[in-house]
Amino acid sequence: MAKSLNKGAGKTREPLFHIVKRPTIPLWKSWVIRIIAILAAFLVCGIVTYLLVQRNPLDMYASMFRGSLGSKRKLWKLAKDMAVLLCISLAITPAFRMKFWNIGAEGQVLVGCLATTACLFYLGGKVPDAILIALMLVTALLAGAVWGVIPALFKAKWKTNETLFTLMMNYVATYLVAFFLLTWTPDGSSTLGRIEGVGMLPVLFGNSYVLIILVVAILTVAMYIYLNYTKHGYEISVVGESENTARYIGISVPKVIIRTMILSGALCGLAGFLIVGGLDRTIYTESVGGQGFTAIMVSWLAKFDPIVMILTSFLLIFLDQGAAQVAQDFNMSDAFPSIITGIILFFIIGCEFFINYKVVFRSAKKEVKE
């Protein structure tokens, strides 16, 4: 039967290859594809580095590992950065499961930072520490929730495009912070010093990072349970998969959108609280530093699974810190980590294609046929 295929290959030829959707792929196979993609991406990073500075790629990889995992101090920093990024990623995950493109985590975290700083600034030393910390936490959660729920209200009522709305809210948050910074610094420097001594978060096991890591670890498990085993989580999945089905079984879609964005925003606020209360002790317009966007990658790469997000947040922080070390060792611009991260992400994004589709070549057709 198949031999007739090549007979007519004179004037008009059948295409060299065509794309077929895979019915299903075993889990292990999809991970093999992803790992191959990441390895290929590292290879390309090595080549890029070589082209830029003519240094042995092996040196680069070594430098990368040294930069992120090389010492106890670096491991702690890695764990802390991971915790913060993971926290933001967990916060946005319910929204993304609902197919609500919340790219406003940056702003939601920032207003959380702002609320925390405001408590410290205005109330520091005036109320007992326990109350101050409680207020910091509550206001941060509230601020984040408000920032998250505004676009949700419009989405729920008029289907206003949430992607651009949440994005714009980031800038509004930034200038709000700029406004308060100018208000708080009479000299007009817009640089607020660290506020120490009041409202300090408890230090566990002699390390101030432990509390944050612990909080995020608990949050990870809680979020996993929330999304997979609660009625809310189930409703989020239904709304995300099909709004029509949700309406059909009597789920109020606006209610779920609003409720979920309050949660998502509030958790972003929590991240802001941790950043200011536990780490920075002050605020800049750049306090979040683009992590709101990186978090989307963490969440998406993990297919919105909180447990897998531990891995993806590790990957991204590892890249960032490793590449920063490479930039330092090889005397390159501090923009290098963004480039490396970009390359790796492109490969991972691209490899999804090979998980969902397969390419059938003209000559290979006979073997592929099942």
Binding site: V172, T341, E352
Partner: protein, 324 residues
């Protein structure tokens, strides 16, 4: 009156950055692809153009017209290359458009910072070419606000007008719109959907890239400029909705957005405003204007929900012929 004229002479040219960005994004969106990578692409366009101009300036003795032409070309190609990357991932590999776009933005900003840091080692020599880019008013009325009304302002308007004509009056435009509205239909009548998507995205990215170059030549030479370009890029994406996916409307929208963007720093200098005695920090709130207006525009357009003013029907959805 002088204030108003001066303000407009500042606002309109600044707005052209948005015009490049939004015209580019409109072309891409008309092909059905929401390119959130435009900010990063504008960054790369800026860096590519600057690198070429710097090389030409340092080479010496290159006629001004070549500096401009090659600078524009380099900017267009560098940004177009990013468009190619975006197309490979979203058109051929059918990757999620939002995620790809956001990665493009992270990557593009990184590339720009990297290149600009390199150019900074030679003191940003590309800025020496600025007067040529501001031809003709930089010679006619040097030092006044007229100087901003350089050739790239007119180029932006010409590109927008041409884009508008192509979209509405030609067969190519008809085909492109069909691809963005209903790719299966376009495919069924024999339009090469992939080619149109690639073409529109690459050309659109190239045009957006020129916006990056325009901005950096005129307004900023600092390594931190990538942040401004990112911001302007996001606003350009938002402007597309304001312009109802029509490049000729975007000309006015861009001027308005230029005005709003500038208002925050301009209003405080008006004597009448100063008499109000508001604290200096208030100016930061004024800077929220373009973003707040964007949000209002988004909301109004979603409330009105008119059939003719909707995004291309297949926007954001990747096309796969054998989907079933």
């Amino acid at each position: 009156m002088k204030y108003v004229l001066d303000f407009l002479l500042n606002a309109i040219p600044l707005g052209m950055t948005f015009l490049y960005g939004s015209t580019g994004e409109i072309l891409t969106e008309k092909a059905g692809h929401l390119n959130l990578g435009i900010p990063g692409i504008m960054c790369v366009g800026a860096a590519g153009g600057c690198a070429m101009i710097q090389a030409l300036v340092l080479a010496g003795n290159v006629p001004g017209v070549f500096i401009v032409l090659l600078g524009l070309l380099a900017s267009f190609l560098a940004a177009g290359l990013m468009g190619l990357l975006y197309s490979v991932l979203t058109v051929s590999f059918k990757a999620n458009q939002n995620v790809t776009g956001l990665t493009m933005t992270i990557f593009g900003a990184g590339v720009m910072r990297f290149i600009m840091a390199g150019l900074g080692q030679q003191n940003h020599a590309y800025l020496k070419a600025l007067p040529i880019f501001r031809y003709p008013f930089s010679n006619l009325l040097p030092g006044t606000s007229w100087q901003y009304m350089g050739i790239m302002v007119y180029l932006a308007i010409i590109i927008a007008v041409v884009a508008s004509l192509v979209l509405t009056k030609t067969k190519v435009g008809l085909h492109l719109r069909a691809v963005g509205e209903n790719p299966a239909t376009a495919d069924a009548v024999g339009i090469n959907v992939g080619a149109y998507k690639y073409g529109a995205t690459i050309i659109g990215s190239g045009i957006a890239g020129l916006g990056g170059l325009f901005y950096i030549m005129n307004y900023a030479g600092s390594p931190e400029a990538y942040k401004s370009i990112e911001t302007l890029g996001w606003l350009s994406v938002a402007l597309v909705i304001f312009a109802l996916w029509r490049p000729h409307l975007s000309i006015f929208g861009s001027a308005l957005f230029g005005a709003l963007y500038l208002a925050g720093s301009y209003i405080p200098s008006i004597p009448a405003f100063q008499q109000l005695g508001l604290p200096m920090s208030f100016t930061q709130l004024l800077k929220m204007l373009p973003y707040v207006v964007t949000v209002i525009v988004l909301t109004i357009s979603s409330v009105r929900n008119k059939r003719e003013d909707q995004p291309p029907a297949a926007l954001g959805i990747n096309y796969y012929r054998e989907e079933r």
